[in-house]
């Protein structure tokens, strides 16, 4: 076990059993019996089919775009949704990761996708360092101070990169990022499916971590009630440290993937911090699946609107109106309950 958890040891089988699978399927099936869920499901399927006929590229590109959003939002969902730490320097860590991959490529010819693995380790250590220097002293005090701290850390990272590498935009020229496939006269890019794959890997990995390991369970407990978790013997500081470092490691490792396709510059991260923040809120705090679903819906909707020529300039409004709508709807649901 990674973390000494004291007396807290939930009795759990760490392997997925067949029976678990059955109960999972059963719980999914039982949802279909609810009328609303069924209607919603049918509408979504119908919408997907309609879109696929009307504009097949929306399906592929929307999926890819959503996957990128979800990918970047997941580490924040882990940190903010599970253990309630706001890290406004989220996007900046990704930016640093992308610069790391860039210079690994320029200096040593390392492929950015390979650079994900060293980035994962380095950023885990970096996360520990940043946690010990900064966030450790803030957590549990005034929660809003985290906003200022994150903003300051983000500024230091962005400006540090500016000092080291200037703020000229950089982009690796990689042949494979513009690879494409053609099906029946319809050409679409294939590289960005990397984002889809990475999202699935991270999502499943995090779910398993949270549900099937003692440490993950402890993290959930800390998120729900830090004081209670302390009482039952969980080492809360350790959990914070671990989750923080894990989140930084993940977002740092996403950096190289991001940098393959997008131009990087010191200010590239902050927009994605905001996007992730929004997705975590829309998806529901604490729900990783919700975040991915929110990314899927918002990304698809955005792509769909953009794909129509006249309304493209209103895409932002639809995006933000959807966000407000979702959050209001969810809050309404909560009240009804």
């Amino acid at each position: 076990m990674l973390i000494p958890c004291g007396q807290y040891k939930p009795a759990r089988n760490s392997s997925i059993r067949f029976r678990d699978l059955i109960t999972m399927i059963n719980s999914i099936l039982s949802k279909f019996k609810q009328k609303n869920f069924l209607i919603g499901f049918i509408i979504i399927i119908a919408a997907i089919i309609l879109v696929a006929i009307y504009k097949p590229n929306v399906l592929f590109e929307g999926l890819q775009r959503s996957a990128l959003y979800a990918l970047i939002a997941l580490p924040m969902a882990l940190l903010l949704g599970i253990v309630d730490i706001v890290n406004l320097a989220h996007g900046e860590f990704m930016m640093v990761g992308a610069y790391f991959a860039y210079f690994m490529n320029v200096q040593f010819g390392m492929d950015p996708i390979v650079a994900v693995i060293p980035a994962l380790f380095l950023f885990f250590l970096f996360g520990i360092l940043v946690y010990y220097i900064t966030f450790k002293h803030i957590i549990g005090k005034e929660p809003l101070s985290q906003l200022l701290l994150g903003f300051g850390v983000g500024l230091v990272l962005a400006e540090g990169i500016t000092v080291i590498a200037t703020n000229f935009p950089r982009k690796l020229g990689l042949d494979y990022v513009s690879s494409s496939a053609t099906i029946g006269g319809f050409t679409f890019g294939t590289f960005e499916f990397v984002y889809v794959a990475a999202t699935i890997i991270i999502l499943v990995g995090l779910q398993l971590f949270l549900k099937k390991t003692d440490t993950g369970q402890a993290a959930l407990a800390v998120g729900q009630n830090p004081r209670g978790a302390k009482i039952v013997g969980i080492n809360v500081q350790w959990i914070y440290l671990l989750i923080f470092a894990l989140s930084i490691a993940l977002i740092g490792a996403i950096g190289p993937l991001f940098g393959t396709r997008y131009t990087i510059f010191p200010g590239v991260g902050d927009q994605y911090t905001l996007k992730s923040f929004i997705l975590v809120a829309v998806g529901g705090m604490g729900s990783l699946n919700g975040v991915v679903l929110a990314a899927l819906i918002l990304g698809m909707a955005e792509t769909l609107v953009l794909s129509s020529l006249q309304y493209g300039k209103w895409a932002d409004i639809i995006y933000f109106a959807l966000i407000i709508g979702f959050i209001l709807y969810r809050s309404h649901q909560r009240q009804v309950k």
């Binding site: 005034e142 809003l144 500024l155 407000i324």
Partner: protein, 307 residues
């Protein structure tokens, strides 16, 4: 003891009002910037006292800016009247929007206010009447840009904000917002009409933000939706200043605004390249030293010395 306070305030006010006699145009311009951010930070803090975290500062700031621009361009309002229009527009819109949005709490409220600001921006950017993405230029800025007069207007706005904040701290609104922030169920059970107070406070603080936005347009003479008028800077900087200065107080955001603005400007003049790096480090160190903000630190010092 009590009179001391008033005396000091009076002296400060006199010094502030007569400042143009002693200092040049550039320090006055800096004072204007400080007053702009101070009013924004303080108004944000006033809403935060109810526990509602708003990211919509830039939205209402921009809304007020556009209101000023449109009323003075199309209806020929004089500058002060157009500032009123800005405050009223922002306040009204906030009250209307607040009816649905103020049921939300915490991060959900924060994100929705942020999204609202973005919606205002996109509307301003896509309409013909607001000048589209290129924005608009004001024919004549207020008082023809006379440094002393504009400073007095800004000072009036700053003092007004401080007075509103003090009123909020001295009257029942203080009790309402503190109880809502601490425990909504207790507040409601004690008879606080939470929603009413939230709408009032949201409208008032948004009106202040709109007013400052209007003044910004009157000072610099233009609106431009993407980079300036709805800039995320007007969200991040006030929040940063209020947090560093100390929350839930009148003087915390004021101190934060003065300190951070002065530090930013002096750093810029001393280190032309990379001053933001130092600025970021100061922020991080500042919040690590004073986790409760500078005001929190001062209060703690007093408690220790009193005991």
């Amino acid at each position: 003891m009590k009179y001391w306070k008033y005396l000091i305030c009076a002296v400060l006010l006199i010094v502030a009002v007569s400042l143009p006699k002693f200092i040049g145009v550039y320090p006055l311009q800096m004072a204007n910037i400080i007053l702009i951010y101070m009013a924004l930070a303080l108004s944000w803090d006033m809403l935060l006292r109810t526990g509602q975290l708003s990211f919509g500062i830039a939205g209402f700031f921009g809304l007020g800016g556009y209101a000023t621009m449109l009323t003075s361009t199309y209806f020929g309002f004089n500058p002060l009247l157009s500032l009123m229009a800005a405050a009223i527009t922002a306040g009204l819109v906030a009250a209307l929007v607040g009816y649905s949005v103020l049921r939300l709490r915490a991060l959900y409220f924060a994100i929705v206010t942020l999204a609202l600001g973005e919606i205002f921006r996109v509307i301003a950017q896509n309409l013909e009447i607001t000048g589209g993405t290129e924005g608009m230029l004001l024919k004549q800025t207020m008082f023809k840009g006379d440094a002393a007069s504009t400073y007095w207007v800004m000072l009036a706005i700053g003092v007004l904000t401080i007075i509103i904040s003090i009123i909020f701290q001295k009257t029942r609104i203080h009790y309402a917002s503190t109880s809502i922030r601490n425990d909504e169920i207790v507040a409601a059970s004690s008879g606080v009409n939470i929603f009413k107070y939230l709408v009032i406070i949201f409208a008032v603080t948004s009106a202040i933000q709109g007013l400052v936005g209007g003044a910004y347009v009157q000072l610099y003479g233009f609106v431009e939706p993407t980079a300036t008028t709805f800039s995320i800077n007007f969200v991040l900087m006030p929040i940063t200043m209020a947090l560093l200065g100390g929350l839930y107080t009148t003087w915390g955001p004021v101190i934060g605004a003065v300190l951070l603005s002065v530090i930013a400007e002096s750093l810029k003049l001393r280190i032309p390249y990379g001053h933001l790096l130092v600025y970021g480090i100061i922020m991080v160190v500042g919040i690590l030293w004073f986790p409760g903000g500078i005001m929190g630190f001062i209060k703690k010092m007093f408690k220790i010395s009193n005991q």
